[in-house]
């Protein structure tokens, strides 16, 4: 039996799920006029030229982080940034909800004001989904070594990590046999 926590196969799945989500969400926004600007404006959080700037920066960042996760490079940083981004989305949606606005979260393109119908379900689903992504990001920060990644070393001490990882796996399997 392989252990669950830190399992490099689970890490691979999380990496690919987040990569797919981020690349898709980022690319679709890049194809919209003004990027994600209109969707950001609907949150009524930022004024001035911030929505226009974020409207381009955010989708580009999403695509970059997504690609890094896809090829498995700088996984710890990419996971960290994913968790930060998704946390920001959760806070944004919660804030809009609390202030009583009816918007489409614009998570995957679109966005803007919509009718009140189905608001609770829509916001709840978006928040739960993003929290799930936060969890996956945190996992990759904790265990950035995953299958089929280009990262040879997630931290400076490449060798010791490899050794530790190998021995940790070994010791659990032994532990299992003994028990």
């Amino acid at each position: 039996m392989r252990k669950i926590w830190g399992n490099p196969w689970i890490g691979l799945v999380f990496r690919l799920v987040l990569a797919g989500v981020l690349i898709y969400a980022g690319a679709i926004k890049l194809f919209e006029p003004d990027g994600a600007r209109d969707a950001i404006v609907a949150y009524r959080i930022f004024g001035g030229s911030i929505p226009s700037i974020l409207g381009w920066v955010m989708p580009i960042a999403e695509v970059i982080i997504g690609l890094l996760l896809l090829i498995g490079l700088f996984v710890r940083w990419a996971g960290f940034l994913t968790a930060c981004l998704m946390t920001a989305f959760v806070l944004g949606i919660a804030s809009v909800w609390a202030r009583g606005y009816n918007i489409d979260c614009g998570c995957f393109g679109g966005g803007g004001d919509v009718s009140e119908e189905g608001r609770t379900g829509r916001y709840t689903a978006a928040i739960l989904r993003d929290l799930l992504f936060v969890g996956m990001g945190v996992w990759l920060v904790a265990w950035p070594r995953t299958r089929f990644g280009l990262d040879l070393s997630p931290s400076r001490s490449s060798k010791s990590e490899i050794v530790n990882y190998g021995s940790a796996e070994k010791s659990t399997s032994e532990g299992h046999d003994n028990g």
Binding site: A27, R44, L67, L73, L150
Partner: protein, 264 residues
């Protein structure tokens, strides 16, 4: 013996170091190559997106107008630089709450609002309970790929000159396309003049105003204000600068409550 042993250890150490250095180098190369690939792919996606956007932003209609702060504006509308720049006042009352309605003639929700309580809102202005200001926007042209919002708004501007702002406003929404995006034909916009009672010399002025697209730059000026003030969409209703939910304005009773609240 001892010398031989330490010699072997040193050799092993050197080999390990060499392997280590090789691994480090490989790792560095991997990172650089990976980063370059990511950057190239990102630039590629941005490039494709820009090309795709440019080809889709060419509107299907014939309007080639651009925003111009010095362009002519319909009579009585707020001038460039004003707090309500390019807005259309209706029965401008003083010392009462200001009610602004941002709307786009191609927006179905604006049409619903107009149908549900347009007359009620106008009555509040006529009764001197609010200072009503319509704030036109044509942002849906870009989203729908046509030029109907700018043409309809410009035609409305021509009707404002003829003193038929409320009537023409009502008629445009009453004739809004059943399917969002189908837009307004020029024949329809010209024909509505009859429905609102623009006749004689006024009709001639109106017709040339519409066919010349005289107020298209004005419509785009207002849209620029819409973007610059980060208005999230239409309809967007403000009372004394504070956004209220459109569902409040749909019911006359709740709207009057909101206005009473604002007058306090």
């Amino acid at each position: 013996m001892g010398d031989k042993n330490s010699d072997r250890r040193a050799k092993a150490e050197a080999a390990r170091n060499a392997a280590n250095a090789g691994e480090k180098k490989r790792e560095r190369i991997t990172r650089i190559v990976g980063a370059v690939v990511v950057i190239v792919v990102v630039l590629g996606i941005i490039g494709i997106a820009v090309v795709a956007r440019n080809s889709s932003s060419e509107t299907a209609g014939g309007s080639t107008a651009t925003a111009d702060p010095n362009a002519p504006a319909p009579k009585g509308t707020f001038p460039t630089g004003d707090e309500y720049a390019y807005g259309v006042p209706f029965n401008d009352a003083a010392n009462v709450p200001v009610m602004e309605i941002w709307e786009d003639f191609q927006c179905p929700a604006c049409q619903s609002l107009e149908k549900a309580n347009g007359a009620g809102i106008e009555q509040l202005a006529l009764d001197g309970k609010i200072r009503l200001i319509w704030r036109p926007a044509t942002f849906l042209d870009g989203k729908l790929g046509n030029d109907s919002s700018v043409r309809a708004t410009a035609a409305w501007g021509c009707a404002v000159d003829a003193g038929k702002s409320k009537e023409y406003h009502t008629e445009v929404f009453a004739n809004a396309p059943a399917t969002e995006g189908d837009g307004y034909s020029e024949e329809l916009l010209l024909g509505l003049a009859e429905a609102v009672g623009i006749t004689g010399a006024d009709l001639e002025t109106f017709t040339s105003c519409v066919t010349d697209g005289t107020y298209e730059p004005w419509a785009l000026n207002s849209t620029q204000v819409f973007y610059d003030s980060n208005i999230p969409g239409t309809p967007l209703i403000k009372i004394n600068g504070q956004e209220i939910n459109a569902s409040i304005a749909v019911e006359q009773e709740t709207l009057e409550q909101a206005i009473a609240e604002a007058s306090k």
